[in-house]
Amino acid sequence: MFGNLTDKFNDVFRKISGRGKISEANIREAMDEVKTALLEADVHYEVVESFCESVQAKSLGSDVLDSLKPGQQLIKIVHDELVWLMGGKEEFAEDVSAVDGMPSLAAPTTGGIMFVDPGPTLVMMCGLQGAGKTTTCGKLAAVLKKQGKKVMLAAADLQRPAAVHQLEVLVGQVNEEIESGPEVLFYSELDKVAEYGKAVGAAVTVCRHAASEAKKTQCDVLILDTAGRLHVNDDLMGELRQIEKAVGPHQIMLVVDAMTGQDAVNSAKAFNEQLELDGVILTKFDSDTRGGAALSVRQVTGKPIKYLGVGEHLDALETFHPERITSRILGMGDVVSLVEKAQEQVSVEEAQALQEKMAAGKMTMDDFLSQLRTMRKMGSMKSLLGMLPGIGNQISKMDLDEREIDRTEAIIHSMTRDERKDVDLLDNSRRRRISRGSGTEPTDVAQLVKGFGMVSQMGKQMSGMGMLSKMRAMSNMGQMDMSSLAGGHPPQLGSEGRPSTRSGFKKKFKQRKRRK
């Protein structure tokens, strides 16, 4: 995500950071480039204008010009303005002392759904056609189910062929894939389905019935999936207003495609004028969107972005944090989200057990395999690497094939139990057998073993560190390890003088130790 915008920002900042002293003209020039970059990223014209004006005023007015590191100062101003643009600072205490333990993540966030008591909390989803409402309904239900809420999904999209069926299938998937939490219920009235424009109003009845059904079955949350509609279609917008009037949803969410162009603002405005929106969900955020909608919508509607859709699978819904996204845009990584994802997948005990094994240098291929699987559950390699500071902006140039991990799994599966426990057993003949068994080349097997060796070595060294410093150490370790873990083909990275060698890693490690 944000690939291009991040690159452009980095260009601008690099130019200006190189200078010991900057003049007013330098800042104006830099802001011109920032303006172009934002416009090319589909940020709304007026939002860009006011953003650039504000940054410029702040940099000229403040002590940027006189400061020792004017480039850094400017980056900070841009950072703060971007955060503000997307919804302001969260009350998130970045406690430096907590860095080496698990950071305190329970801090309140801008994301999420507010619940009413007594339930059910009525959530209405609306948006243009193809924005991703139905898929998002499924993802949201999955999130809520995990939280232990009893959820009902109601199919109020009576127009798009098979939309009702799609939602029903999604409900089935949620119940199948997520074990914890009460079963998600599904409500539909198939006889009300009709062609486009022929069932206007019928959705109101369906929603009303769904609401009373949800009450009867004591659901905590009822999610209404409405049909996609154009913000200029008066009949259909009227239908939404009728639903609002009839059932009084507690939360109205606008689902917006993150790749929408300048028109994003118009449709968001129109929906917001017709309905009292509570929040926005941005979808398809795993594309190479340059983030125009993310940066504009909040500003124009004044409504917070609550969630981001980041993939096709049910668990690909992230809570939106303005600061973290800003960091990602500016190529500073997002370690906090990464740690959160890890925490979702690994229990403290599991992590501890593994850590002890690693510290003792006793990690086996089986442990490695389960690590790999855990990592995959956290998301795609690309999305994970993108959260590491310093790597984010290089990811776009990387050609990471997720199937490499499949191959790695296949190789490990082709090993005997003894081999998994002790990779030193592997001689040429065993390697050949494994490569045949897994459909790979003997060199791939060798490469994996080498990579594994590095990881267990790293494990020993890092055993004294906390989670965050590990992440940092990893990012300093460089990318070669990641690729050799994935079974070969090191990706070509344009690493620009970053310490990517083991010695760099060691140095950093020592520094951290000293600081403690």
Binding site: T36, L39, E40, A41, D42, H44, Y45, L128, Q129, G130, A131, G132, T135, G138, Q159, R160, P161, A162, A163, H165, Q166, L167, E168, V169, L170, Q173, E195, Y196, G197, L230, H231, V232, D257, M259, T260, G261, Q262, D263, A264, N266, S267, T283, K284, D286, S287, D288, T289, R290, G292, E312, D399, D401, E402, R403
Partner: protein
């Protein structure tokens, strides 16, 4: 070919919003005023807001400015006429009709990102081909998204054409192959292949698409005769990136620009032309299967600037 009748009025109707905002504001910006730097920068802002793209907008403005400096145009109204001329000049004579197979069934592969409007667009193409007395068949190769197959099935019932479908979670390429065989066996004229929506950033999914194409070619070496990319007209400059990456993997031969009735803009059409040179063959201007038009640049520009 006479496949579609270019209905100027309908296009105008579909573009009504485009027209009223784009031209309405352009008119009020330019009309009855002498040209000035200020006026041109207002025009540029308006064009960027219409998704023309920063580069294209600035180039067009530069052209207008140059003409102004050459003393060829003097007023805002002159500039408007000149802009129309410039826009028209973007499109060379190119073939925007569907390419049909010389013998055997014509295979049309349809792709696009999630939610672009592939299935609806296929229904529209299928309906107009059927209205043109062609034997049409659909292949539901979106085996990934929940109920995608049913969605296409419902469309096939509504417009009265056959559909070949696969299992949810099955291999889309094998469905495509089966459909090719069925098309030949049943003597079908045109086979439209619907594929799952995929983000162009997902390399493995793009590879899967390339595989579908290869498998089709196993059956018919000269197929697919058309590779249509469906783009959502409300998408911003990302549409250009999408088209470029899809073109790399499956050699797109034409673009179906969907949801053009929803956008206040339409400038993206120009950006695509400028950056990629892939012809826009159809535009979708509404929700019913009849709401499709062949893309005619002159008509399009006329409609944008019509009174």
């Amino acid at each position: 070919m006479g496949l579609f009748k270019a209905a100027f009025d309908k296009l105008k109707q579909g573009l009504d919003r485009t027209r009223s905002t784009f031209v309405g504001e352009i008119r009020s910006i330019l009309s009855g005023k002498p040209l000035s730097k200020e006026l041109l920068s207002q025009l540029e802002a308006r064009m960027i807001q219409s998704d023309f793209g920063v580069k294209t907008s600035r180039e067009l403005i530069k052209d207008i400015e140059a003409s102004w400096e050459r003393d060829e145009i003097h007023t805002g109204d002159d500039a408007m006429d000149y802009l129309k001329e410039l826009l028209n000049a973007y499109w060379p004579a190119e073939n925007r009709t569907l390419n049909f197979a010389k013998t055997g069934p014509t295979i049309i592969l349809v792709a696009g990102i999630n939610g672009a409007g592939k299935t609806t667009s296929i229904a529209k193409i299928a309906k107009s081909l059927r209205d043109d007395n062609k034997q049409v068949m659909l292949a539901a190769c979106d085996t990934f998204r929940a109920a995608a197959v049913q969605q296409l099935e419902i469309w096939s019932e509504r417009i009265g054409v056959d559909v070949i479908k696969g299992q949810q979670g099955g291999d889309p390429a094998s469905v495509a192959y089966d459909a090719c065989e069925a098309a030949e066996a049943r003597g079908i004229d045109v086979l439209l292949i619907d594929t799952a929506g995929r983000l162009h950033t997902q390399k493995h999914l793009m590879d899967q698409l390339a595989k579908i194409k290869r498998v089709i070619q196993k059956k018919f070496p000269d197929a697919p005769h058309e590779v249509i990319l469906v783009l959502d007209a409300t998408t911003g400059q990302n549409a250009v990136t999408q088209a470029a990456i899809f073109a790399q993997s499956i050699d797109v031969s034409g673009i179906f620009l969907a949801k053009l009735d929803g956008t206040a803009r339409g400038g993206i059409v120009v950006a695509i032309r400028e950056e990629l040179g892939i012809p826009v063959k159809f535009i979708g201007v509404g929700e019913t299967p009849d709401d499709v038009e062949p893309f005619e640049p002159n008509t399009f520009v006329e409609a944008m600037f019509a009174q």
